[in-house]
């Protein structure tokens, strides 16, 4: 049997040629009732069909085939089937059944087949009711393909009016739900009626297998045609309590291309008319308790976003930098943190991440998604379980202070719709001690830094112990110590002088000459001792060459000090003498005055010298 399907891509003229060469001998299934509903309210065409199948033959049947024209099969993003049990209000849908591509023999080549494996084989006379949901992307074709800012956005949808199936269908009906009541045109078959924004076809009865009657619906669609051409979603687990999600979007408006001018004036003054085909914002539904949400692109933060949160979800309204008209593109990144305990669980000694697969954006079509799950460093034995087939890779990511890198599970899938937002699991083994590795590394690093500093300070790093400069340095240190000692001695001398002066003052107050003389004696002794101590130090300085430039000053200092000492003694003796002679205060002062002046000058000199030496 061969079926040739030819489309002529013209608006209302669709020609179908079905050539049946031989009768199908497939199985004895009969579809007793098929109800289809096509939901075109978003950019994704969702076709849900309720199929009641009966086994009319003798052998039991374990699978049911679904036929989809190849042109549509390309755009098929999602396909599930469920068994419906009970009737009327008691209807419950069971578990999802396995749906896999099938390739039965002797079928027309322009059709793709999928087989639904029934939970239990259908015996003769039994019937089963299935609920099949198929989602197609890019199947709403903009027509005209280019519009201006002011034009309305029209799209064309094509499908078959009769249910295309390898089995005979007894009764069937079709309902098409459109976003708006404005319908440019639609194919009329027998029994077609419109009801507001809905078009109903059927019911049709007793149609043979592979009945096909093309329909085309041309209608206005102003919903957001947001297509993420590429989405990279990175989920990074930190066992310190955070799951960080980063999503990089490359968004394009998938509707009719905009042509000609874009006038901000028109857009701002009449946004409903002059910007109807554009979309301004996207809504993302994040899990509850999402925190640290950010929204930015390559050139910085984008300030137009709003976050609303409650206990069930966190909703974030994202406005791209500019409204997107048909064909316009933009790219941005959103990121958020999630609490670890909401998404990572432990079972049977293994941890697993349980998080949804697709983009959190509302009604977005993702052409290609790359999902990276970055496990913590030191994770082992990881495995992935997804509810649908994905392409899987592994890589290593180096992040904060890693040594071996973090294992990354990369999942790739093309053509993703919101129906794919199901939970998937990544199982891995992770020792909690590995968490401490990085802090420990930091502590060690800083510890060794300090150790190095301590070692550096305490170790003599000079290359040669006998080199001239090293010896010179040693000598210089000695010289400095000696100078320091000399300074100390001079200071002691000076303080002795103070004592002498003090004794003089006491003398003037009390007139106790004896005490004054005693003080003089003590001072004499002390000064003598000090000058003895000074001698070897000066001798040392004289013998060391590096001290050459400091020596004259030191010698000057010592000489000045000695002079000062002499003068002071002279003054002391004079005053004591005059006291003994009971001379008047004025006369004493006259006698001392010249000495006193010298003393002051000398003291000043000594101070300056000391300071000078100090600076060296």
């Amino acid at each position: 049997m061969a079926v040739g399907i030819g489309f002529r891509r013209r608006l209302d003229f669709l020609l179908l040629v079905i050539a049946i060469l031989s009768a199908p001998v497939l199985s004895d299934l009969i579809l007793s009732k098929v109800e289809r509903q096509i939901d075109l309210t978003s950019q994704i065409a969702r076709i849900s069909s309720t199929i009641k199948a009966e086994n009319d033959g003798s052998s039991s049947v374990s699978e049911i085939l679904l036929a989809i024209p190849e042109l549509q099969a390309k755009n098929l993003a999602y396909l599930t089937a469920r068994v419906i049990e009970g009737k009327g209000k008691a209807r419950t849908s069971g578990l999802a059944l396995t749906v896999e591509p099938a390739n039965p023999k002797g079928m027309p080549p322009a059709l793709s087949f999928y087989s639904i494996v029934l939970p239990k084989p259908l015996a003769n006379g039994d019937s089963v009711t299935l609920d099949v949901l198929a989602a197609f992307t890019h199947s709403l074709r903009p027509f005209p393909e280019k519009i201006t800012q002011a034009d309305i956005h029209l799209v064309l949808f094509q499908d078959t009016g009769h249910y295309l199936s390898p089995y005979p269908v007894k009764v069937q009906s079709l309902a098409v739900k459109l976003p708006q009541a404005r319908i440019e045109s639609y194919t009329k078959l027998d029994n077609t009626k419109t009801l507001g924004s809905e078009i109903k076809y059927g019911p049709y009865e007793n149609l043979p297998p592979f009945s096909y009657s093309p329909i085309a619906i041309h209608f206005e669609a102003n919903q957001a045609f947001a297509v993420a051409r590429e989405l990279v979603r990175e989920i990074e687990i930190s066992h310190w309590g955070n799951v960080q999600v980063t999503e990089h979007y490359d968004i394009v408006h998938g509707g009719a291309m905009s042509k000609g001018e874009f006038s901000r004036l028109d857009y701002q003054s009449k946004p409903q008319i002059r910007g109807a085909s554009a979309f301004k914002h996207l809504v993302a539904k994040l899990p509850p308790r999402a925190h640290s949400i950010y929204y930015r692109d390559a050139i910085g933060n984008i300030s137009t976003s709003h976050v609303r949160g409650d206990s069930k979800k966190t909703e974030i309204l994202i406005e791209p930098r500019y409204p997107l008209f048909g064909g316009w593109r933009t790219a941005f990144t959103i990121g958020y943190g999630l609490p670890l305990h909401d998404f990572v669980f432990e079972s049977e000694g293994k941890r697993f991440l349980n998080i949804s697969f697709g983009s959190p954006m509302h009604d977005i079509v993702t052409d290609s998604i790359t999902l990276k799950v970055v496990l913590p460093e030191g994770s082992k034995y990881f495995s992935v379980s997804t509810p649908f087939a994905v392409q899987q890779e592994e890589e290593i990511k180096m992040s904060h202070l890693d040594i071996f890198g973090r294992p990354v599970v990369v999942l790739k899938k093309a053509n993703v719709v919101p129906e794919h937002n199901q939970f998937f699991q990544v199982y891995y083994k992770f020792n909690a001690l590995a968490m401490l590795m990085e802090p420990f590394m930091l502590i060690t690093g800083i510890f060794f830094l300090f150790v190095t500093c301590i070692v550096y300070v305490h170790v003599d790093l000079s290359i040669s112990k006998s080199s001239a400069s090293y010896l010179a340095k040693l000598q210089w240190d000695e010289v400095r110590a000696t100078v320091q000692q000399i300074q100390n001695i001079i200071n002691q001398c000076l303080s002795t002088h103070e004592k002498l002066e003090a004794s003089l003052r006491d003398l003037s107050r009390t007139g106790d000459v004896q005490a004054c003389k005693a003080a003089r004696k003590a001072a004499d002794g002390l000064l003598k001792e000090l000058s003895k101590e000074l001698k070897p130090l000066i001798a040392f300085l004289q013998s060391t060459p590096p001290a050459a430039h400091i020596l004259p000053k030191v010698e000057e200092l010592v000489a000045k000090e000695r002079e000062l000492q002499e003068r002071l003694m002279a003054k002391h003796s004079t005053i004591v003498d005059s006291y003994e002679k009971k001379l008047g205060g004025k006369e004493t002062e006259n006698r001392v005055a010249s000495v006193q002046q010298k003393i002051v000058a000398l003291r000043q000199d000594i101070e300056d010298l000391m300071e000078y030496i100090d600076e060296i």
Partner: protein
């Protein structure tokens, strides 16, 4: 200040020494902690921009630096040196590796590489944003080192704290302000520190480091010529004032030799390091210092009499030779048209030069002379402290303090010529104010300390004390009073007898001073005056801090690509139009499309939108900029022809009339006319002015109302409010309803601040021509003449 007497009262010499070293160590730790805190302060005061706005690169030039850094981090250093950028100056292109000061880029690139090799995944952008704050912390530390070399650690810490938050420097180094100046100020201060250090120590090690620091400065900023002129000036000053020493020679000669060699390794400088007049002074002084060194050497080996003879001989012969050489040099230099000076340097020497000859330099607002309020805004109270600091530097005048004085004097001059060079003044002002404050505090606290313990016991001494009453608290005290050798610690109290005695003889001291020696007097202020003065100084410092924080938070943190305004109810409104436009360009135009705009937006367009531009902020080709200026000031058709001949597909104009954004293209338009008219004489400035006034209302000239810039800015503007009221110019526009024939609007941002037009394809023009060819014959002949003037035909 070291205190030699501190150990006197120790029980033994060793114990005294130990306590002294312990105190020094303790002081060192405190100084270290203070320095770390200053670094933290310098870093964190610059983060207002990140907190208030976001972590984003600011303004214009930083975007170019950011783009270069991205290239460097992606392609490596060799590709960077050989980078020929074809996305700018279309169709000429630009050799980036050879025309850019690579210091900043290499620094940030190295930081990025190091950080990433440690597996800390910072983006290039983050590194670039935070480079400037990090380097301002370094600059404060360098200021500490420099001032410490000049006046001791106390002044150093004060100067570092002042520099950490000086508004002038903050304006160029907030987080995100990723510009050359950010690292260059550090390099400048550090080079000066190493020079002073070498001068003070005479160590060849520091001289070598100095040359390397100079090399880094040359890599970083064109302002390195300031160093290579200031240091020779100082050397010359030292020689003239008889301060020549071998230390001076070591500080200078290696710097010139090594520094010039290293500088010529930087591609953008290359042979300019020996050929241009900016470097001439350094070589002249290099010769002079050798002559002087020789003279000193000969003086050393000859007897005084012989030396005199030799001097007369050499001077008479040498003078002749020198005159000849200098005459030749001057002749060579004078033969070149600009006298060997670059335009910007000439602007420095002759402030009126740019406005006379180079409108493109004059058109940049940061090349204008500053106003008085801008001094107060940018250095605040430092302006008052600087004179005090200068006087403090004179007592005593050392090699290093004379350098600081020279630095402040020259930088004050330069800052008076160009607003931008306020940045060079800021460190000098901080250093001198640090010295002034530290000296003032030194005197005041010493007076307080001296009088506090047991002063009541001997009031006569206090009365007889040699007092200086300072009329102006902070200036007077620090100027008149010189530091003395009183220890600052409590041990001073124990030494009181000694001091009192000394004080008794103060009259004698007064007579003593010898003119040759630096005289040190103990000058003490009355207790009450000192306490009040200290309080006032603290208050002054507090005002400074408040002003700096305000400046950092309010005045200098705006990234200028994002504007905000507060609405009446306190809400914040963000104007993110620039990024909106660049983002649109980058996502919705072809990657090889050429975008024409005034040169201000060139860097941003290449960096953010990744589109080829005709001209950008590196204004190296005046003719090219003039071509764009001509196109903008021509009528639509001629403009279309010019742009079309340059393969331009989009024209971008900035328009602030809707929201009142004053620095838009209409306000810059006269510069386009001037620069365009400078090369293409058919553009005449008076055509655009009505009675010498620039206006766009009904009184405007027809040339003005028909030029491309007017049309692109005001296209359909009248429909916004029905009148066409321009909120920047505060007037209704002159020509309200018109249509564009050769351009079409393709994008306008949310607040109309950026408008992008597309050149209509050629067939439109031909259709228009065939219809009107006969009627406009007379006009077309005129057009042909103009067309020929377009260099791209």
């Amino acid at each position: 200040m070291a205190s030699p007497e501190s150990a006197v009262n120790g029980p033994t010499m060793t114990a005294g020494a130990a306590s002294k070293s312990l105190r020094n160590a303790f002081g060192g730790v405190i100084a270290f902690i203070i320095l770390v805190l200053i670094g933290v302060l310098a870093f964190s005061i610059r983060l207002f921009s990140v907190i208030k706005y976001e972590s984003v690169i600011h303004e214009f030039d930083p975007y170019f630096n950011y783009r270069v850094t991205q290239f460097l981090s992606k392609n490596g250093i060799y590709d960077f040196w050989n980078w020929f950028d074809d996305r700018t100056w279309y169709p000429l292109g630009r050799v980036i590796g050879g025309t850019v000061y690579p210091g900043l880029t290499l620094t940030a690139g190295t930081i990025w590489k190091v950080v990433n090799s440690l597996n800390i995944p910072l983006s290039v952008e983050t590194v670039c944003v935070f480079t400037a704050p990090i380097f301002s912390a370094f600059a404060s530390w360098a200021a500490y080192l420099l001032t410490k070399e000049v006046k001791g650690p106390g002044a150093g810490l004060t100067a570092a704290a002042l520099l950490a938050m000086v508004p002038s420097y903050i304006s160029r180094s907030v987080a995100g302000s990723y510009d050359n100046e950010a690292v260059a100020i550090f390099a400048l201060v550090f080079t000066f520190y190493l020079y002073i250090k070498t001068l003070n120590t005479g160590s060849l090690f520091y001289a070598t480091l100095n040359a390397l620091a100079y090399f880094y400065m040359v890599c970083s900023w064109g302002g390195y010529t300031f160093i290579i002129n200031l240091i020779p000036m100082h050397v010359l000053l030292c020689i003239v004032t008889g301060r020549y020493s071998s230390r001076l020679y070591i500080a200078y000669a290696p710097l010139v030799v090594l520094g010039t060699l290293l500088a010529s390794l930087v591609p953008v400088v290359g042979f300019n390091a020996v050929l241009t007049s900016e470097h001439f002074a350094s070589f002249l002084v290099f010769i002079i210092i050798h002559v002087v060194a020789l003279a000193y050497y000969i003086k050393g080996i000859l007897s005084p009499k012989m030396f005199k003879v030799a001097v007369t001989l050499v001077v008479s012969a040498g003078l002749a030779v020198c005159c000849a050489v200098i005459a030749i040099l001057i002749a060579v230099v004078a033969s070149s048209p600009t006298k060997g000076w670059s335009g910007r340097s000439l602007t420095l020497l002759d402030p009126t030069y740019a406005s006379k000859y180079i409108p493109i330099i004059a058109s940049v607002s940061e090349h204008q002379p500053p106003t008085w309020p801008s001094y107060f805004m940018d250095i605040n109270v430092l302006a008052f402290l600087v004179p005090a600091g200068i006087i403090a530097c004179f007592m005593p005048l050392t090699d290093s303090s004379s350098f600081v004085i020279l630095y402040i004097v020259t930088s004050v001059y330069f800052s008076g010529v160009m607003v931008r060079l306020m940045l060079v003044l800021a460190p000098a002002a901080c250093i001198l104010s640090g010295i002034a404050l530290s000296e003032a505090f030194n005197v005041l606290t010493r007076s307080i300390k001296f009088q506090l313990p047991g002063i009541a016991g001997n009031p006569s001494i206090a009365v007889r004390m040699w007092c200086i009453m300072s009329t102006s608290k902070e200036n007077g005290s620090s100027t008149v009073v010189a530091p003395n050798d009183i220890p600052k610690t409590e041990e001073a109290a124990k030494e009181k007898p000694a001091k009192k005695n000394r004080k008794k003889e103060k009259e004698n001291v007064e007579k003593k001073p010898t003119p040759s020696k630096t005289e040190k007097r103990l000058l003490v202020l009355p207790l009450e005056a000192s306490v009040i003065a200290v309080l006032l100084l603290v208050l002054l410092g507090a005002f400074y801090v408040v002003h700096c924080v305000w400046a950092a938070a309010e005045a200098y943190s705006a990234p200028s690509i994002v504007l905000t305004s507060h609405s009446n109810d306190g809400g914040l409104h963000v104007f993110d139009d620039f990024r909106e436009a660049y983002s649109w360009l980058s996502h919705n135009t072809d990657v090889d499309d050429k975008v024409a705009s005034w040169w201000d937006y060139g860097y941003q367009t290449t960096a953010m939108a990744n589109r080829t531009v005709l001209v950008d902020n590196n204004t190296w080709n005046n003719t090219h900029i003039a071509t764009v200026g001509t196109a903008m000031s021509s009528p639509e058709k001629q403009a279309w022809e010019i742009f079309h001949s340059l393969d331009v597909k989009y024209v971008l104009v900035v328009f602030g009339g809707v929201v009142g954004y004053p620095s838009d293209d209409i306000n810059k338009f006269l510069w386009m006319v001037r620069i365009g008219g400078g090369v293409f004489p058919h553009i005449k400035e008076p055509d655009y002015l009505r009675d010498g006034q620039y206006r766009i209302d009904a009184q405007a000239t027809p040339t003005m109302l028909n030029c491309l810039m007017y049309k692109l800015s005001y296209f359909r503007f009248v429909e916004t409010d029905g009148k066409g009221f321009d909120r920047v110019r505060r007037t209704e526009i002159g020509k309200k309803h018109f249509k564009l024939t050769h351009f079409e609007e393709v994008f306008t941002t949310h607040h109309w601040m950026v408008r992008i037009y597309k050149l209509k394809p050629q067939r439109n023009r031909i259709r228009g021509k065939t219809k009107k060819s006969k009627s406009s014959r007379s006009v077309s002949s005129k057009r042909d003449v103009r067309g020929k003037r377009n260099p791209w035909h």
